[in-house]
Amino acid sequence: MSKKLLFPLFLLTTIIMIYIFFIKSSQGDYEILYTYEPEERELAIEQESKKYKIAVVPKQHNIPYFRAVEKGAIDAAEELEMELIYQGPALADSDLQISTIQEIMDQNVDLIAVSAIDPNKLAPVLKEAQNKGIEVITWDSDVLSSSRSFFINMVNPETLGRHLMDMMALTMDDHGDFAIITGSASAANINEWLKWIKIQHEEYYPNMNLVEVVPTDDNPAKAYEIAIDLMKEYPDLKGVIGNSSVGPPAAAQAVMDLGKKGEVSVVGLSSPSEMKGYLNNGAAQVSTLWSPEKLGYLTVSLSKQLLEGEYPNDLQDVPNVGRIQVKGDTVIMGEPIDFTKENVDQYDF
């Protein structure tokens, strides 16, 4: 290689190296190495813009329990921006309920949530709704599992049934005659509780005697008559369990009216607002229930969640409701609350 060529070559190499060095340091302040997109969670928000229309159907419309449910449901629908139809039969009659559902089906709803009076009778109409593309869930009282997506149960029926029996026994000192005033004979939830009351009775309380189980069809007037009749028929009667919300107030009123305060104790499922007076004056001892408003709220919340394509999860924290449990296709809202003379003032439903 000629010397004349070598030196310029050397110079050139040096210049290139310097150039590379300077190019590198003059590219700005940063050099981006890696980027990634954060998780996409905006999709759900977009869907929210669609306003769902749902229908919540109680067993009957005009008893305090279902009116409390309605209140919760309306709150939820407002907060979650949904259109809500809360419509039920005037009487707890399954035929009336069926026609109510049929009426609702024509109103172009996305979902129907039913508290079933008679699971068997309701099955065809719910199937029909499902075939129309309407989602069906049940709350408070279930139907056959094939006719709905899931069932929202307030409490575990076994827990509740055994607890009611325990409360009865506690007030009767574990022995004596007692009767059960139940709701409609066909309602699935009530029959389930009744089953567990009887089991608990057989297992633990041999000195107690169940004299009669009388249905009331959730009619307050009828319930009162039945209570009066029971106490007259069984003078040694020591206690009454009201197995549906109309039972305990009717029984307590009968105790008062017959002057049997202290003789006959009354426990059962009923709301604190209905029982407050009886608990305070000693006509009733313990009322057990859950928050029906919470039940209404939860029903609407889970309806929306289902419409958005998400099944309820076990231990899910539902806003304004708390944690729920999911067992199979049944949602359990929580634990039952006992209302007594001491705490009944804390509750406003």
Binding site: M1, K3, K4, L6, F7, P8, F10, L11, T13, M17, K24, S25, Q27, G28, D29, Y30, E31, I32, L33, Y34, T35, Y36, E37, P38, R41, G72, D75, W290, S291, E293, K294, Y297, D317, N320, V321, G322, R323, G334, I337, N343, Q346, Y347, D348, F349
Partner: protein, 595 residues
């Protein structure tokens, strides 16, 4: 410009040039390669870190978010106690003692439930409900908590300490998590629960990635919510005005302290998680590689330098030797020998140099010595032409003849002497026709005959036409002088015969031969041998009695080469025959050439 830069390089010694060239040729590519590969290696490590750290950071971010939301959910523990719920539901008190009892109950519960081990990072718990304030703290507050320094801000995010007015002793940085207490049964709000968490819980979450690195969390105003350097918490991050990526990583390109910064954004709290590590820590492992590379590089450079030096030396050593020898030769010393066995260009050069020096030496010798001898010969010839001894003898002879009155003889002798002197003086031509030379020797012999009278007889035999050929001047006289001198010394009668003939020399070459035969005492063998060696050797070295003879021989040899000259043929007491051999110098041809 380049030529100016090259100029000094041009003047370097060849060895240096070669060495520089070799070293540059090996070092530059190697340095370049090494630099590039080290750079690439570093870059790929940075790239790897740039991909890994964001993932780890994101993991940490999710972990922190989850821990925070878990802590926030701790307020659900309140729901499990009916006593607590009952206290919370109470709106009015009949008397002060009932309120204080509830407060005691509540504070105890809070302390028992939240501050005893569930989560050791919880500093304090406050519950605000219906104008009541329940609290339990692990670390004392600087100022008692009240409704002015504890106010609801947001349920949706964790609130950094600098947005609140609560201060703990020791200025512990914290996060406040607020959550509404809801009475699910009555479906109404019961108040707010505040859980204060020591921000240092983050230390544990990020300990895997915080080694040698800075990790911090800052809000949308770039204010540090958390920093591995606790001093900085609460200050504003101002090193970089605008972070170029939200989720990912980048590298700063400043003069020094370059960092790989990974960023992850938490949507929930609008926080930015940053992990910043100086590249020098990342490339720590590469430093070993770099050092080893550098050591290898240095060793290699040394080896290649040594090799290049050896190579350059090997190439330039003979050249250097040549240079020194040339300098010697330049100074005039031709007795040099560059012995080199290699057959490469340098070897060939040395060989050429050797032969060139030899040739020069030879030429110098020949030119110098020939010139010198010629000058000496000419000087001698001049001397001999006007030999004072001869002049004296001749003038003596003339004088005697004048005394005896031999006028004719005197006239002839003076004329002859004049002719001889003219011949001697007409010195222009080196060669003359043989006729002229012969007539000159005849003049000489006639003059001598006048001197020695009957004692000398001579004869000139011309076997060729001597007017056709040339001969160098004064080749006969010294020989004839010697012949007469030695012969007259010993003999009464001296016979000198000059024969001029054309003879064929051994290689078939035609030569002209002058043969001077005398009847003298001959030359003794040892003397003859000595003379012969003198003739063969350098005939001009010594001045001796045979100087005339040697001078003639030398002149002829110088003019025509060693093949020509004098041959002596002599036996003691039998006379001497001296043979002068010259090449055939054809006068006609020479004239043609001259014209």
């Amino acid at each position: 410009m380049i030529s100016k830069l090259i100029a000094p390089f041009k003047n370097y010694r060849f060895t240096s040039k070669l060495m520089i060239t070799y070293i540059l040729l090996t070092v530059i590519p190697m340095a370049f390669l090494g630099y590039i590969s080290y750079n690439q290696y570093t870059k790929s490590i940075e790239q790897q870190a740039g991909e890994n750290y964001p993932k780890l950071l994101r993991q940490a971010k999710m972990n922190i978010d989850q821990q925070l939301s878990e802590i926030q959910k701790l307020n659900e523990l309140l729901y499990s106690s009916s006593t607590i719920m009952s206290i919370l539901r109470t709106e009015e008190y009949q008397n002060q003692s009932a309120l204080l009892r509830d407060q005691f109950e509540m504070n105890t519960y809070l302390s028992r439930t939240f501050l005893s081990g569930i989560h050791s990072d919880i500093l304090a718990v406050f519950v605000q409900s219906n104008d009541r304030l329940f609290h339990s703290t692990r670390v004392p507050l600087v100022e008692e908590v009240n409704s002015t320094n504890l106010q609801h801000i947001s349920y949706n995010r964790a609130i950094p300490f600098y947005e609140t007015e609560l201060r703990f002793e020791g200025d512990i940085p914290y996060l406040m998590l607020e959550r509404e207490i809801i009475d699910f049964d009555n479906r109404e709000s019961l108040g707010t629960m505040y859980i204060v968490v020591d921000i240092r819980f983050v230390d544990r979450v990020i300990q895997d990635i915080s080694e040698k690195a800075d990790v911090w969390i800052m809000d949308h105003n770039q204010r540090f919510i958390y920093h591995t350097d606790q001093e900085k918490i609460g200050r504003i991050y101002d090193e970089i005005k605008r972070i170029p990526v939200f989720n990912g990583s980048f590298k700063t390109l400043s003069e020094e302290d370059n960092k790989v910064m990974s960023v992850s954004q938490s949507e929930k709290n609008d926080w930015t998680f940053v992990h910043s590590i100086q590249t020098k820590y990342l490339t720590e492992q590469t430093n070993l590689v770099r050092n080893v590379t550098i050591i290898f590089f240095i060793v290699f450079v040394l080896i290649s330098a040594i090799i290049s030096i050896l190579l350059a030396w090997n190439v330039t050593k003979p050249i250097h030797q040549l240079k020194l020898l040339m300098k010697d030769v330049e100074k005039g010393n031709f007795n040099v020998d560059l012995s080199m066995n290699s057959k490469d260009e340098v070897g060939m050069l040395a060989k050429s140099f050797n032969s060139m020096v030899y040739r020069i030496k030879e030429l110098i010798r020949i030119n110098y010595q020939t010139g010198l001898r010629q000058k000496e010969a000419e000087l001698y010839a001049l001397q001999s032409q006007i030999n004072p001894h001869f002049m004296y003898n001749t003038l003596e002879t003339i004088s005697m003849s004048v005394e005896e009155g031999e006028t004719d003889s005197v006239v002839e002798m003076v004329a002859l002497l004049g002719q001889m002197l003219r011949y001697s003086l007409s010195n222009k031509d080196e060669v003359v026709p043989i006729t002229t030379e012969v007539s000159h020797i005849k003049d000489y012999l006639i003059i001598q005959k006048y001197r020695f009278e009957e004692r000398l007889s001579f004869k000139v035999e011309e076997k060729i036409d001597i007017s056709l050929y040339n001969t160098p001047k004064f080749i006969l006289q010294p020989i004839v002088e010697n012949a007469i001198k030695y012969t007259i010394e010993r003999n009464e009668l001296a016979n000198v015969t000059i024969i001029i003939a054309k003879e064929t020399f051994d290689a078939g070459e035609e030569t002209i031969v002058f043969r001077i035969v005398d009847n003298g005492p001959g030359i003794p063998p040892d003397k003859l041998k000595y003379l012969e060696t003198l003739l063969k050797d350098d005939p001009m070295t010594k001045k001796s009695s045979s100087f005339g003879l040697l001078n003639v021989h030398a002149r002829i040899a110088i003019m025509f080469g060693d093949n020509y000259g004098i041959t002596i043929n002599s036996h003691e007491n039998m006379g001497t025959e001296i043979e002068i051999r010259i090449p055939v110098l054809d006068r006609l041809k020479e004239e043609v050439v001259e014209s």
